[in-house]
Amino acid sequence: MSRIDALFSGLERPACIAYLAGGDPDPETSLAAVRAVVDAGADIIEIGVPFTDPIADGPTIRRADNRALAAGTTPDRIFELVRAVRAGTAVPIVLMTAYNIVYVRGVDRFYREAAEAGADGVIIPDMPPEESEDAVAAAGRYGLDQIFLVAPNTPEERLDLVLEHAGGFLYLVSVQGVTGARSGLPHGMEERIAALRSRTDLPIAVGFGISGPEQVRALAAAGADGVIVGSAIVAIVEKHLGDRDAMCAELKEFVAGLCGAVRDGA
């Protein structure tokens, strides 16, 4: 059983999933930031591998990617980061990146190195199931979960295709659009989650646009098995660029608040 499967099957409440842009604002500070988020109680850590031209990301994460790249972050440095985080914790780690980063490195090599570093899953937002044969096979070879996204407008007939390939958990995109913190929640999340639940045994985690404890509580109440917060966390890193202690302190406080909200809502 993968670390991700073990986590969800042992959890009585929704999982709190935190995203950080790897190497933001520089590889060293990024390690401190990830550790702060782990210490605060996040159940799964998503680490973005920066790319110059991510089409599914909003301005907050794009700025973070740019900072990381300017500080010399490469896929090698991200694998080092994962190794360093893994040395101190058993928390599941998921890498999220653009397909080009994986393709250029060589699909097999990327998954092998990710597994060796201690990652548990991979998300590639611009790789639909149609293009995923090599990646899914490599994930299987190295014991990684390939996680897929389901969009608000994913047609019924495509859902079967996504579910056929998906592992780990299903990443349900809450809103139409790119990543970025928003207020409120779209209508019908409860129905959407229930409809998906009837089709799959995979845990359902909701992400995109989730900015704080209130939305987290509402999603937990709507039946989500996990809540993913990204841009709101990345914005905290950005707010304290010159001050690592203040950055880590606010990250801890914020993520602890999200974890508390997950428990309240369940």
Binding site: T52, P129, N153, V173, Q176, V178
Partner: protein
């Protein structure tokens, strides 16, 4: 299950949000392609609005100077000033066919933005255009033309603030509002079905050219030459000649020279990768990060290329070469002075290489150059480089 491949290139590398939209687009396009009423309406617009068919012009002076027979396929004479309108009319009609209520587009030099604004105005569809801030500065005239035509131009301030960033921003707009939006992509790039669909709409160039040169010369040309940014005018020129014994030559932006790293010559100097929806040659570093490109022409300033060109390169059916900024500027002046035709800076790259090729040719060899656009939009930039105040 994979579709839209040209050999190993192409595909559909987009977020899940767009996959259903691409499927809907593909099936609407297949219907429209086989719908005589749709095709008749498109042909009507092309002939009575856009100005088809365009002439094939024999270059009397250059041919004499260079010692072979040089023709120009005059896409510069189309409404809007470039080949772009062949595609925008086709896709705007398709958008209406699909019941979409807004058009979005990216633009580099502004020619595709203008052509989209024209098509949108003619068909009563609102148009929003994404354009890099750097390109807006060097193509102010086209920004104003788009606004005159009723379009909204959104400046893009991310990345290199050129065409690549404008494409990403248009994709993000589409992801945010897929139901009502039609993304009118301007080149034979992006996810399937765009490379095929844009090629089909641009093939009118090569079909006419083939007939016209047969009529004028009684034989096919020795070579067909076109500039390549994303590669839409080139693929439209090449495709109808693909089974013929004709050299197909694509000319990329050599910028300040391939050895300087400041260029946009993707097929000459790139490696395989995935950007903005398809697998193709890219200008990228060893980790897959996209490199900044450079060209005097905004329309060729792009780090990727259409997937079909990548295939044609790999199978050896087409040759891809580069012309530098200086060579393009020299060709810009040469064609203006010797033939009375001011070419777009993009097209000037094709002219520059054709001049080079002509020197190696026999006097009865025929070179046809696709003149993808006219140079009116470039006069401010060229004057500034010449140090002339206008």
């Amino acid at each position: 299950m994979k579709k839209g491949y040209f050999g190993e290139f192409g595909g559909q590398f987009v977020p899940e949000t767009l996959m259903g939209e691409l499927e809907a687009l593909e099936s609407a396009y297949e219907r429209a392609k086989n719908d005589p009423a749709f095709q008749a309406e498109l042909e009507g617009y092309l002939s009575t609005f856009a100005g088809r068919e365009t002439p094939l012009t024999y270059c009397r002076n250059l041919s004499r100077d260079l010692g072979c027979r040089i023709y120009l396929k005059r896409e510069d004479l189309l409404h809007g000033g470039a080949h772009k309108i062949n595609n925008t009319l086709g896709q705007a009609l398709l958008a209406r066919y699909m019941g979409k209520t807004r058009l979005i587009a990216e633009t580099g030099a502004g020619q595709h933005g203008v052509a989209t604004a024209i098509a949108g105005a003619a068909l009563g569809l609102p148009v929003e255009v994404y354009m890099g801030e750097v390109d807006m500065a060097r193509q102010r005239l086209n920004v104003f033309r788009m606004e005159l035509l009723g379009a909204t131009v959104h400046p893009v301030r991310t990345g290199s603030r050129t065409l690549k960033d404008a494409v990403s921003e248009a994709l993000r707009d589409w992801i945010a509002r897929p139901a009502e939006t039609y993304y009118l992509l301007g080149s034979a790039v992006g996810p399937h079905p765009y490379p095929t669909m844009v090629r089909d709409f641009q093939c009118v160039i090569g079909r006419e050219l083939r007939e016209q040169v047969l009529k004028a010369e009684g034989r096919l040309p020795t070579a067909a030459v076109a500039c390549v940014g994303g590669g839409s005018n080139a693929i439209g020129t090449f495709y109808p000649l693909i089974d013929d014994d004709v050299r197909l030559v694509g000319v990329e932006a050599g910028g300040e020279g391939l050895s300087t790293g400041k260029h946009g010559a993707t097929l000459c100097a790139g490696t395989k990768g995935v950007l903005q929806g398809s697998l193709s040659y890219l200008l990228q570093d060893r980790d897959g990060q996209i490199l900044e490109t450079h060209s005097v022409s905004a329309g060729l300033d792009y780090p990727a290329v259409g997937p079909e060109h990548s295939m044609l390169k790999d199978i050896g059916r087409a040759e891809y070469v580069a012309a530098t900024d200086d060579e393009a500027l020299a060709a810009f002046s040469l064609l203006s002075r010797r033939e009375g035709i001011i070419p777009a800076l993009e097209s000037s790259h094709a002219v520059a290489y054709a001049v080079k090729m002509a020197k190696e040719m026999d006097e009865d060899d025929i070179i046809v150059v696709t003149l993808s656009g006219r140079g009116d939009k470039d006069v401010t930039e060229v004057a500034a480089r010449m140090g002339v105040a206008i």
